[in-house]
Symmetry: C2
Subunit: 313 residues, 2 copies
């Protein structure tokens, strides 16, 4: 069942001891450039360096002792992998994380750093899913889907819950969209706690499945996949699509140069490190300034896990 407000509140109480109530930053120079009053919710300062800690911890802490007995499993090339590894360590169960062989060594090392076992596979969705099935068959572990899971969605919703609790009502709240876990949670939290808020997503042109699915009502594939925003490559799931169709106002597309410019602006002006996927909603705002002129806008800064040796500038 789609999480209700009470579900999100319970999730928040459950995860509070294990995740940060992240700070919200503002920047007058950026407000001047953007022509809006922007509040950045800094999930780049979150545990494991990304909002995924919220959903991962909520999902794992929601499991029964029986479900935890044989460990937990997921597939992810990045932040969700670390989130599940972190959450499994909290409850003292084993995590089996299926990762594409092409994932950066530093990310595999980070997952192993939480005591998880990394199982490598070919870098295709099919290989990921078949490897997960094999892991579950072999170990009897419990799968935690990266986004198409109401426990994960309720966890991600807590970022927006905090933002509204700490800074009041907003005209607009923005988040990026990949599989839609964060966007769904953002939209639900806004709907329950600040119903007049419009939730608007940013999506890369080079992974534009969600914008298509949002219009058609069916899960569509992206016309092509080529973007620096490597956290946003996946398509929506049925659960996230339903919530997004119900509670999201629009999904705006941005190009990679626009993403890189927005990312650089935040690095240079706010002195904080965000990953390319994280810059997507801010890029969408800058591209559509007239739409946001004078508005009070919350933006979820999703994560800060970048390879400093491979920066786009």
């Amino acid at each position: 069942m789609i999480p209700v407000l009470e579900t999100i509140r319970t999730a928040h109480e459950r995860i509070a001891p294990y995740v940060h109530r992240t700070p919200v930053l503002t920047c007058q120079t950026i407000n001047r450039l953007a022509g809006a009053e922007i509040y950045f919710k800094c999930e780049n300062f979150q545990k494991i360096g990304a909002f995924k800690a919220r959903g991962g911890v909520n999902a794992v802490l929601s499991l029964t002792p029986e479900e935890l007995t044989n460990g937990v499993t997921t597939h992810s090339s990045g932040n969700h992998a670390q989130a599940i590894a972190y959450a499994a360590a909290l409850v003292g169960t084993k995590a089996y994380i299926v990762m594409p062989s092409t994932a950066p060594q530093v990310k595999k090392d980070a997952v192993r750093g939480y005591g998880a076992e990394v199982i490598e596979c070919e870098p295709t969705l099919e290989a990921r899913e078949s490897t997960v099935e094999k892991v579950i068959a072999d170990y009897g572990s419990t799968m935690i889907h990266p986004f198409n899971d109401y426990r994960v969605i309720a966890g991600q919703a807590t970022a927006t819950k905090e933002l509204i609790e700490d800074y009041g009502l907003f005209d607009t709240i923005m988040a990026p969209v990949g599989g839609g876990g964060l966007l769904s949670g953002t939209a639900l939290a806004a709907y329950y706690l600040s119903p007049t808020t419009e939730v608007i997503a940013g999506e890369p042109e080079g992974a534009a499945d969600a914008a298509l699915s949002f219009k058609s009502g069916h899960i569509e594939k992206a016309p092509y996949i080529k973007t620096i925003a490597d956290g946003l490559l996946t398509s929506l799931g049925d659960k996230t699509l339903e919530i997004i169709r119900l509670h999201v106002k629009d999904i705006l597309l941005v190009s990679d140069p626009e993403i890189i410019d927005a990312m650089r602006l935040i690095w240079e002006r706010m002195k904080i490190i965000i990953e390319p996927s994280c810059a997507v909603p801010f890029a969408a705002l800058l591209k559509n300034k007239e739409q946001f002129a004078g508005k009070k806008v919350g933006i979820i800064l999703t994560g800060g896990n970048v390879d400093l040796g491979k920066l786009p500038f």
Copy 2:
């Protein structure tokens, strides 16, 4: 006269409307690596991207209307230039900023962005000083020295005042040392507000004048100048040397590779952008872990103005 506590309090009230009360960040991973409990005072989030806004604003706001009539002048290749330009704009007076011709275009543009006039000179201390003298003769403007000025020192002291007000007493507070304005202010604020705190500085091996001067009691030159910490190249002044000799416990030297490692650790683990000079005290702590083991340490993160196109990693 060396600023007394009341001077620092007055400076704080004077500048409060124009500078940020910057956040203090902690990081469990870094505490574990360092073996200490570290509180980072984030002056990289300060106005103009560095603590220099504090001293610059206090100095300019302390001037009489007569002293302000013909504008203010300073020489600086970096953050102090922006601080004085910013402060002059606040009070509506002209700023004439002498900058070496080799200063990055982006820094000259930033100074001009505050409405200041940039006067370029050869990149030597002699050329800087003679150009400043000419500017003062031509325009009758008032000089604000970057560090050897009690108004500047009292302004810089407010960062440590806030740190102690917000987080209580510390075993140790650390700052980098270049000309010694920040270190003097840090040492005075700690002496007045937390007298049992030891103030310890970090200095690059490739600009090690302060460590020598601290021992000899005279203003010494660095044996050689070659370091990535380009904000710390200047020697102490008589005012800063006196305060540092009275109230600083030690000055620890670090190499450039140690500075770069410390800088990278903060970027990767804390997701914040700091400039190389800013990483120096943390590098000194990591190099001397046994000395800081288990202690509660405050570190002033001085600034975040880096050229993203020229990173050392």
